[in-house]
Symmetry: C2
Subunit: 319 residues, 2 copies
């Protein structure tokens, strides 16, 4: 375990990317009384005038005024900087992160996929990065308006060089407490890489196939051929985790299949990006896991093929 | 080798399915002076009045009158019955074949894929089936009008129970001579299963991916991700052949890749079917080869995944 300092009390937060994810969790934190600063781009004008509106299965609420910014240089340095932009925009982070981060502050990466934390450690230094996964169905409906449809739980963990297990640190507990007080179901975990692979068991098959097959989750589950394919791809994700010395229970596959079967028909985030002709998060969600599995000597033909198909479609969609 | 009788001289032909393939080769045979009878469905009225028109890279020609039928019971029994309907229509063959086949006649299967000949042997008896592959780019543009864009060569072979090698028989040579006299470049082969697997090296990746990725051959070849994927799927086809004790040279992959690279951009037959909302030939082209490979102990994950994806898309397209 690494020596890391505690964060100041109470923590201040910066949200980089005020969309379906960052907007929702940031709003929950601000509503709980914390000091939260939101970085926006296209929605800046609207949100700085009207704040955020949250329609949520946990209860609707409105924040008529939020500290909104369109320039990271104008933001105050914060204790915790939540990264919630699309990973396809991460080339902007070397400009964004340094000014918004307190000397003892940390970056919390809530993006999907693998391999983002090492890039961020390059920018802000080692021992200043945490990662988290969010199991949530939420969409941004219009500027400043977020609809939270289902789930919402998070798992957070420390990032350590090369994804070595980071253990439970005081600052991880502090951040966890902040989210819990804000009403977010949350676990803190000792090992970031395990929870990232666990999330990929869902994200790789459903995000990938939803784009390739132009399909919602319920359509994939009700067709016998794709239901088996989803399960086989999930099996490959477990193999990939094994190649990184992370051993997930096979039972997780059955859990995710049956959760998805009973879930409201859902358009995945990658499918929403595709339909809106935005670049797809292929590298974070498929490419980096493939690289790590390959480095561990594991070969994942179905995920490799899905990656190749998505690369083709992404190029045609956003030339 | 099995004892099979020679065919009468000259041979009469029946063409079951007068489309891009059957219409083209049947017209070539009739033009060479042979007696050819064409079975049609939707195009019957037009063709019985106006005959067939062929626009071909080998030279255009017209047959103002052809013996056209809309009912197999009205056709004369023939020496050679060419099966050129879509394999998704093969449930009609038990009604169609018996009346059009002479007692010593044979059925020549020109459909794509694997596993059709055993079904036809069930209908007409053993030792009465031959199979062939056609390397041709042709499309039916409108009723009775066929456009032949490129290639056109055939390979023919005897079918034997369980695809055991059938050797070179006199009747195989007779049929081969008929096509050659009609101007069709043709090889006769000792082993049907080898030439069927060889054709699948092209058909499985390009037909399958063209539907899943909504892509023409040139688009698949110019994108680095799909170019590699096509090559990997071709490698799996060679593995599948090995599972059936057929050993294709790896060089065939490079030949097909470079042919396809220099070919006129081409919409595959499966993509044309998909766009016209017709059922796809998934079982003949992917399902049956997968079954035979599996029976030989060979596992083909990419082709399996392509099969599952196509099954899904076909169900959505033709519910």
């Amino acid at each position: 375990m690494t020596l890391v300092s505690q964060l100041s009390n109470p923590r201040s937060y910066a949200v980089i990317g005020t969309g379906a994810l960052g907007g929702f969790y940031g709003a929950k934190l601000q509503k709980s009384g914390l000091d939260v600063h939101f970085l926006l781009r296209s929605d800046y004008d609207w949100v700085s005038q009207h704040g955020l509106q949250i329609e949520s299965v946990w209860g609707d609420f409105q924040l008529p005024q939020v500290p909104a910014y369109n320039n990271p240089q104008k933001m105050p340095p914060c204790d915790v900087v939540i990264v919630a932009i699309k990973s396809t925009e991460n080339h902007l982070l070397p400009q964004i992160l340094p000014p918004v981060l307190k000397p003892d502050g940390v970056v919390l990466v809530l993006q999907n996929g693998l391999g983002i934390e090492p890039e961020i450690a390059e920018i802000v230094g080692n021992h200043r990065v945490l990662g988290g996964i969010c199991v949530i169905c939420s969409n941004k409906i219009k500027p400043g308006y977020i609809r939270h449809l289902d789930y919402g739980m998070m798992k957070l963990a420390e990032y350590n060089h090369n994804y070595q297990s980071g253990g439970i640190t005081p600052r991880l507990q502090q951040i966890g407490e902040d989210f819990k007080k804000a009403g977010v179901p949350l676990d803190i975990a000792e090992d970031l890489l395990s929870i990232r692979w666990e999330k990929l068991v869902w994200n790789i098959p459903y995000n990938g196939l939803s784009v390739v097959l132009n399909a919602r989750t319920d359509q994939m589950m009700s067709n016998p051929a794709t239901r088996v394919l989803v399960e086989e791809i999930m099996g490959e994700v477990l193999e990939g985790a094994k190649g990184c010395d992370r051993f997930l229970e096979r039972e997780i596959i059955n859990q995710m299949l049956s959760h998805t079967e009973t879930m409201t028909p859902y358009k995945t985030s990658m499918k929403i990006d595709y339909d809106q002709r935005r670049p797809l998060e292929i590298d974070a969600i498929l490419g980096n896991p493939l690289k790590m599995a390959t480095a561990g000597g594991v070969h994942l033909p179905r995920i490799q093929m899905l990656y190749q198909q998505l690369k083709f479609l992404d190029t045609q969609n956003c030339p």
